[in-house]
Symmetry: C2
Subunit: 367 residues, 2 copies
């Protein structure tokens, strides 16, 4: 497999020294930043994630900060999710759409106060869209990327580990809420969230200088919990149905196609730039949608390009993420399937690099 050529353009993170010391074996690039993909092996990392606790360098979830009197108005312009009842201290998963209803990102919005928000972004330069909109509409708001690098603590022992470093109050944080905690005299937002289904937290580490001190404190506190460096795990995230922007969806897709219709309050999200386009989709429904799909046979190679899904000799969709699941003893996958074939139980065929494979559309993801 090809190696990655490092340069300043592929940004290091405040935790890169720790990641390297932990023996990272593979990287991807996410928001022009290094994101680890494997430590021991994808399967060993998966097993450990489901049993213990891991510390993930997800600095690549960069923040877009909105500050000023028009911050809330701008935030609502970006998304069809109705934000009027969102309170400070809450995190909302928000599809971000352009004027055609195409998805530009699927971040988590963090409401710090009425006039200060963070958007914790997936892989696209959302900053540029937000700055362009703020400029074009002459909004009274500052938009920039602050020095904030998320560090995720994921796995069944995440509460125990974090309580040792920040105190038992972390146990009281509810899902998709955050609270403030002190570390070395700095106030950090900690949310109960993260890109796995194993439970855990994301620490919004403000100030690169405290990155490695915090990393080291977590590892020192968690030795007997078998804490390890980890990263978003391909197998676990497909089992759990966690979508990946750029993989499972692009700006070609509406939120409804991605199964994110429940996050679209298109009628009441007044001001959303893509509202007109989405009203029609909301009414008529999408003609293709993301589905969990089990692919027959033995383990398949990584999905580095869309694999066509066919039925009756016609292309009726594509697979965009796939992994062999040891726990479910099948190839778990995510695909976009046309309406005619998206019913659970439908048998389809997938053109894989290992030849045609039978597959079954499922009702739900695996965990």
């Amino acid at each position: 497999m090809a190696r990655i050529s490092l340069s300043r353009r592929l940004r290091r993170t405040p935790f890169s020294d720790g990641v390297e010391a932990a023996g990272v074996k593979g990287y991807t690039v996410y928001n022009r930043m290094l994101l680890p993909t494997v430590f021991e092996s994808v399967e060993a990392d998966y097993r450990h994630l489901k049993s213990h606790v891991q510390v993930w360098d997800v600095s690549c979830e960069r923040q877009v900060e909105l500050r000023g009197p028009d911050a809330a108005r701008l935030m609502q312009m970006l998304t069809p999710r109705d934000l009027r009842r969102m309170l400070p201290g809450q995190c909302f998963y928000v599809p971000i759409v352009d004027e055609t209803g195409g998805m530009l990102n699927d971040p988590v919005a963090v409401k710090l106060s009425e006039d200060r928000w963070w958007i914790s972004i997936a892989d696209s330069d959302l900053l540029l869209w937000v700055k362009g909109i703020a400029n074009g509409y002459r909004l009274d708001v500052l938009v920039d990327e602050p020095d904030v690098s998320p560090l995720a603590i994921q796995g069944p022992k995440a509460d125990d580990l974090l309580a040792r470093v920040f105190g038992d109050r972390v146990r009281d944080i509810r899902f998709f809420k955050f609270d403030k905690f002190e570390f070395e005299g700095r106030e950090l937002a900690i949310a109960r969230s993260g890109y796995s289904k194993q439970g855990g937290f994301e620490i919004y580490v403000e100030g690169s200088d405290i990155g490695m001190p915090l990393w080291n404190a977590l590892f020192a506190a968690g030795e007997d919990l078998q804490v390890r460096a980890g990263c978003p795990n391909l197998i676990e995230r497909i089992e759990g149905g966690l979508l990946s922007y750029g993989n499972d969806m692009t700006d070609d897709n509406t939120p409804h196609e991605c199964g994110l219709g429940k996050f679209c309050n298109t009628h009441t999200a007044i001001g959303c730039i893509g509202r007109d386009a989405l009203l029609r989709v909301a009414k008529e429904g999408p003609v293709q949608q993301i589905r969990p799909i089990a692919i027959d046979g033995d383990a398949l190679p990584p999905c580095d390009r869309p694999w066509p899904i066919v039925a009756g000799g016609k292309r009726i969709g594509q697979i965009t993420s796939v992994a062999w699941s040891p726990d479910f003893n099948t190839n778990v996958s995510i695909g976009m399937v046309k309406l005619s074939h998206w019913e659970p139980g439908t048998r389809i065929e997938v053109e894989t690099p290992d030849g045609m494979r039978g597959a079954t559309v499922r009702d739900k993801f695996w965990i």
Copy 2:
């Protein structure tokens, strides 16, 4: 060195099959697309590039297409370079700036006609900025990413190779001009341009389906010219002073800091969004600027993060790109240096991973 984990999100190109067959050994990610970095070795690739001809998959130079009555107005809003005298058939290197004068990209603008432009971008999602501006100002223009993938032909034998495939008329294309040529019934724009100082062309391959046929035609025609697959070469581009957005400059920098003041006609570029901010910089001049710097001693490792430049115990700049040059027998590098130390001949010190090294600010790049 860590390997790269492939996924659909790191987009393949119309030429990826050819690149793989040619034995690519390393990749970087550029505009969320795979960009080869090395075939035989960076030094062997460099030697070959300077002697023969190479075919480069630079599909990652994605195009932002502007189409419609407001296309020219929008293009001028993006850049401080005065575009009023630009003619269809011309390519202009254009710094793109935000409202603070910070560089968002340093692309080549290709004027196809008065109401149709391509912006051949460096590594940032410029599409999102342009779409945001077009939307906010309610301009009458369509903005999207067309199916166009540049293929560069670089090296001293580039004219000979291209003439065999497209006819002798390619020899008449002047620097930073383009003309239209036919391949398999398709009209393709070919410009005399490219990211090396060895001469050559960039073919704007419109339609992914003709990617591999064109790739194969070039290799078949150039066997006796010793044509090879290549890629932008780190050594050659530093010797030649070709800047890299994300490496040598970011949105923190003004065009003037990057030595691109000559491309800023700030007084006459009426409508440019960053004009107000840049008028002041144009008048007073920058306080730091990019310089070629020769670093003493033997070959240094890759510059994967900024290396501080110090003088008299103070930080006075940073190195952002470095390579050992066999032809000039020194470490060639690019750095940002404060006004107090940017005079040619100034001796400075660089904090490298191999310890402190003496270095000299140069008057000019090497080639």
